[in-house]
Each structure stands twice: as structure tokens, then as C-alpha cells.
């Protein structure tokens, strides 16, 4: 009865084994991949250098008195690390961010899968999340403060308001768009509903669910910065507002760039982690 799902796992097993065993099989493949990787690495470096160079030039012209050059910004970044204000701000910003993302991920994936599997849940949930996703949430944040005040709850809710809809809708679409022939096959092998869900539907849906998770986390970053700028200035938002109000523009830009980089690095680490943990086939192809 459970023959087939097992077969599907067995199919993946060799790939996993190759990864686990390591170099024996992968070396020739990797050598080629590494050459290509080197190439990409230099291009990326060049692209970063061009952007930073353009920034430096723009800062030196200057295009605006309030626009610092790249080096001034980098120095300001160093100063803020040294005096501890930036690390402290991140500790404070990460609280609503992590809390909001954890809630959104758990709740969002659960709800999304439920909506994908059950029509009643879909009718109930889909309109709400579609509206929420298309709504300009920044305009709704002041409303949150009327109900929940100006503390951590409001900021966490702002993160959830931005992250949850994306995660829910992606999980829901992922489950809804599972290859029907796989499901039909599972049925013809007399798989139970749970077996269908755990062994066919979820594995097939997981790439899209992960993509939704990444988009959700990116939205969560937007949410937390918006909340800190619009509700009460704390953490990163406080540093941005404060340094702007005392005209320390280099510091202000350093904070803004740092949160962008932090978000970008977090997302790419997540993607790597996903490939390593869950997508052995892509690891081979895309390394």
C-alpha cells in the first residue's frame, strides 16, 4: 500500500547519499561548477564595485549636500558598530521582527495548506488574505496603534500584517497546484489521505511554500522598519529618525544600507539552507 511514496523517497536517496558521502562523486562536477562560480563571483564583485564607485562619485560631486559619499557612510557604519548603538538597535528591532516572522510562518503555512486542502477554509480565508495582500498596509499601521497602543504588540502586528498574507497565499497556491497526476497515482496505489498529504502533496508543494516564506520574510523586514518609523522610534527606526533630525546623514544612510544588506543576506542564507536541507537535486544542478 505504501510502496509508491517510499519509491519516491528512494529515488531521492542516491542524490542525498552523494551529497552525504561528499567528494567521491561530486568532485568532477564541482570542478566545473567552481570555474563557473569563480566567474560569477568576479562579476558580482564588479557589480558591487560599480555601485559603490557610483555612490562615491555621487557623494563627492555632491548631488545633494545631505548625500554622504560611500566612504563617509562606511566610516559612520564603523563608528556606530564601535559605540554599540547599531548592535543595540538590531537587538531591539529583531524582537518584533523574529516574533512576527515566527508567528506568520507557523500560522501562514498552516492556514495556507488548510486553504489548499479544504474548500471551506479557502472560501473563508482567501478573500481576507487577498485583500490584505493588495492593501497598502503602511496606511493601516496607524490604525493598529489605536487598538494595540505603541508597544511591542503593535510592531509585531505590523510585521505580521505584511508577512502573513504572502506566506498564506503562496502556501495555498502551492498546495492547490500540486501535480494532479501525482495525486491520482497515489490514489490508485490506495494511499490514505494522510499519506497523500505527507508524501505527495507537501513535498511537491514545498518549493513554492519556501518561496512564499522568503517573500514573507522580506515583507516582514519592510513591516518592522515601517513600524519603527511610524509607531514609536525604536531600534533601526530610531537610529534613522534621530540621525536625520540631527543631520548626521552618513550615519542615517549607514543604518539604511545595513538593514538592506541584513535583509538580503538573511534571504540568501535561507535560500542556501533550503537547498542544502530540502533540495538535493538543485544542489547538484545549481551549485
Amino acid at each position: 500500500m505504501t510502496e509508491l511514496p517510499r519509491a519516491s523517497f528512494n529515488e531521492r536517496a542516491p542524490a542525498r547519499a552523494a551529497v552525504a558521502e561528499g567528494d567521491g562523486i561530486a568532485v568532477p562536477l564541482r570542478a566545473g561548477a567552481e570555474r563557473a562560480g569563480d566567474h560569477v563571483f568576479w562579476w558580482r564583485l564588479a557589480s558591487i564595485a560599480i555601485v559603490c564607485g557610483a555612490w562615491e562619485i555621487a557623494g563627492r560631486i555632491p548631488i545633494n549636500y545631505a548625500f554622504p559619499s560611500f566612504f563617509e557612510t562606511a566610516l559612520a557604519f564603523g563608528r556606530m558598530i564601535a559605540d554599540g548603538s547599531l548592535p543595540k538597535a538590531y537587538v531591539s528591532t529583531l524582537q518584533p521582527l523574529l516574533l512576527g516572522i515566527a508567528i506568520s510562518a507557523g500560522l501562514g503555512i498552516g492556514l495556507g495548506i488548510l486553504m489548499g486542502l479544504r474548500r471551506t477554509a479557502e472560501w473563508f480565508g482567501a478573500p481576507v488574505f487577498i485583500v490584505l495582500q493588495s492593501a497598502p498596509v503602511a496606511a493601516l499601521i496607524p490604525l493598529i496603534t489605536f487598538v494595540y497602543g505603541i508597544g511591542l504588540t503593535s510592531k509585531t502586528l505590523a510585521v505580521i500584517a505584511l508577512a502573513l498574507p504572502v506566506i498564506v497565499l503562496n502556501s495555498y497556491k502551492a498546495v492547490r497546484n500540486v501535480n494532479p497526476s501525482l495525486v491520482a497515482m497515489a490514489r490508485s496505489f490506495l494511499a490514505s489521505r494522510w499519506q497523500q498529504i505527507l508524501r505527495i502533496i507537501l513535498p511537491d508543494a514545498s518549493p513554492l511554500i519556501f518561496a512564499g516564506l522568503r517573500l514573507g520574510i522580506a515583507a516582514g523586514f519592510i513591516g518592522v522598519v515601517l513600524a519603527e518609523l511610524l509607531i514609536t522610534p525604536t531600534g533601526i527606526g530610531d537610529l534613522i529618525t534621530y540621525h536625520r533630525s540631527v543631520a548626521d546623514y552618513a550615519e542615517m544612510y549607514a543604518v539604511i544600507v545595513s538593514i538592506i544588506l541584513f535583509s538580503a543576506v538573511t534571504l540568501s542564507v535561507l535560500q542556501k539552507l533550503e537547498i542544502v536541507l530540502f533540495r538535493p537535486e538543485q544542489r547538484e544542478a545549481g551549485a
Binding site: W55, I61, I63, S245, A247
Partner: protein
């Protein structure tokens, strides 16, 4: 082939970014025109400025007033050249950014009131080691509280930030906070809603500019005549309102200003200007070096200005030429 295409796309994107970052903001340069950048939405507190603007328009000036979200953004608009005259006190910007910006007309003095829950605190000494709530880091409200702490030899337990006088007043009424600093309108609100529950702590000799006009030095030279006309109208309006605050409400009707103001707030206009006139919130001379020295001291405490206040030079921040010309033309 595909690789080439990718490279081309990447290079193109990089080039586009470089161009976008390097493209200078086009500066407007129209004659006889003044574009004023307000740091806040027009309200009762900016009514006197709006009246003066209407009167300057009657004298043939083409003045456009644009409200911005905050004073910082308004100041940026002036530095970037999208606006000619800004409203606010951009001392930090003038000092740190080295932009050719000068303040040229002092419109109002900072007027905030340290308010405490009378059942908990009686005077400044009681606030030693206690929490006080102010608007934001580096704000005037924070500077007031810090300055008074210095003078009374006390140190607060902590300073919390809650933006908005009305929000802090609401929190005082609910009892969530016990000591804060609010503006005139919200002090009145506290006294009306809970008479006797709150006490205003004494605050002597804290003088600082709240709102002033500033502009590019190049603009001040090019549009000297237009700016002088505006300054004259400001001075006339200020003197008129100080002599008879009720005029503010009449002139609002005459020029149809703040048309969306709710009827029940109309009475506030006269109350606000009466109180402001009594406490000399609206200077009649457009600014003087003594006031600027006081500003240096105040804004050094707030963190806006760096360095020893005594070493700062007035001429690096202010030009009094416009106000002097206006005073001369008005015959005083």
C-alpha cells in the same frame, strides 16, 4: 550567447543605477516666486504665517506653500532646491552639512510646558531618578527636560519617547505617564479635562527659537526684494496679532484660511494667540543675535549642535539683513 546577454543586462543595470544616483536634482529658478516648505500640516499654530503669506500675495508676490511630513524633509527640500524658503530650526543641518543655508527670520519662541501628575510630584527635585516622557530623541522637548534637570541638579531615571503632544496628554489623562512636556494647546486640554490634577513645573529662562524661516544664501540675494516684502508682512501681522489676538480669527475668515477647521476649534484660535501674545511667543523684530546665542545653548543641550555653544558664530547660522530691511521699511 545567453551569457553575453546576461552580461549586457547586468552592465546596463549597473550603468542605469550609476546614472540615477548621479543625476542632480534640478533646481527651480523662477523670479518673483517664493516656494515655502512647511514642516507640518497647516494648523492654528501656522495661521499667522498663512495670513502674512496672503498679505504678501496681495502685494504681488507669487508664494506657494507646501506642507511636508516633517521639518527634516522640509529642510531637505530647501537644501535640494525644490523649495526656496523653509520653516523650522535646521541648526544641525547648517552646522554639519555645510549647506549654504541661513536662517533669516525668527517667527516664534519655543513654548512647551513640563506637566506632572500633581498627586505624585510637586517640583523638579521630585523627578530625580524618575521617568519622564518627551517627543523624540534630539527634540526640543527633550532639551527642555535635560536643561531643567541640569539647572535643578537632578538626573532622570529614564527618558521615554512618545511622539505627539496630544498622545502624551492622552497618556497623562489615562495615568499611564506621570511626567511629560506638552504644548500650549494640550496644556489647556489637561487643565480643562482634569482641573487640579496636573501641575505645570516652573521653567524660567529657557529661550529658544521654535520656528524660523531659512533659505539658500543665493536665493536671499537673488530675491532680496520679494523676501523683504514677506518679512514686512510677517512683522506687521505679528504686531497686529500681539496687540489684538482676536484679529487672527477675523483674518482667517477674510482670507478663507484653514477652511477645514472644525467649528468647535474656532474658539481655540483666539485662546492660542492670546496666550502666545502674553508669553511673548511671537517676537516682533524677526530675530536678533541675543536670541541666537540663547538658541546655541539650547540646541547644544538637545544634541542638534555640536561643540561649545560659546564658540559658535552667529553669522555662520543667521543673517539679519532681511529683518533689518523690513524693520527699516516699516519705520521702526
Amino acid at each position: 550567447m545567453q551569457g553575453l546577454l546576461k552580461r549586457a543586462v547586468r552592465l546596463g543595470a549597473a550603468a542605469a543605477l550609476a546614472v540615477a544616483m548621479a543625476a542632480p536634482v534640478a533646481a527651480e529658478a523662477a523670479e518673483g516666486k517664493i516656494h515655502v516648505a512647511l514642516g507640518d500640516v497647516p494648523s492654528i499654530e501656522t495661521l499667522n504665517l498663512l495670513i502674512a503669506v496672503e498679505r504678501a500675495k496681495e502685494r504681488g508676490l507669487d508664494i506657494q506653500v507646501t506642507p511636508f511630513k516633517s521639518e527634516d524633509v522640509a529642510a531637505q527640500a530647501v537644501v535640494g532646491g525644490q523649495a526656496d524658503v523653509g520653516v523650522g530650526t535646521p541648526y544641525a543641518m547648517i552646522q554639519k552639512v555645510k549647506a549654504p543655508i541661513r536662517l533669516f527670520y525668527q517667527m516664534s519662541n519655543l513654548r512647551f510646558f513640563p506637566v506632572v501628575d500633581a498627586s505624585v510630584y510637586k517640583d523638579w527635585k521630585d523627578l530625580n531618578g524618575k521617568e519622564v516622557v518627551v517627543h523624540s530623541r534630539g527634540s526640543g522637548t527633550e532639551a527642555i527636560m535635560k536643561m531643567m534637570a541640569q539647572r535643578n541638579g537632578i538626573e532622570y531615571g529614564s527618558i521615554s519617547y512618545v511622539p505627539g503632544s496630544e498622545v502624551r496628554a492622552g497618556a497623562m489623562l489615562q495615568g499611564n505617564i506621570k511626567a511629560t512636556v506638552v504644548d500650549a494647546a494640550n496644556r489647556r486640554l489637561l487643565e480643562e479635562k482634569a482641573p487640579g490634577k496636573f501641575a505645570v513645573l516652573p521653567m524660567e529662562n529657557v529661550n529658544a527659537t521654535d520656528e524660523a524661516l531659512f533659505a539658500n544664501t543665493e536665493f536671499l540675494e537673488r530675491e532680496a526684494d520679494a523676501v523683504t516684502v514677506l518679512a514686512e508682512e510677517l512683522m506687521k501681522t505679528w504686531r497686529e496679532i500681539n496687540a489684538n489676538p482676536a484679529v487672527a480669527a477675523e483674518l482667517r475668515k477674510k482670507y478663507n484660511l484653514l477652511p477645514d477647521l472644525p467649528a468647535d476649534e474656532e474658539g481655540e484660535i483666539v485662546a492660542y494667540y492670546t496666550e502666545s501674545a502674553e508669553s511673548k511667543a511671537f517676537p516682533e523684530d524677526g530675530g536678533n543675535p541675543g536670541a541666537v546665542k540663547a538658541d546655541f545653548e539650547f540646541y547644544a543641550v538637545s544634541g542638534q549642535l555640536e561643540g561649545d555653544p560659546a564658540s559658535l558664530k552667529v553669522e555662520d547660522f543667521w543673517t539679519f539683513e532681511v529683518a533689518e530691511r523690513a524693520r527699516k521699511n516699516l519705520g521702526q
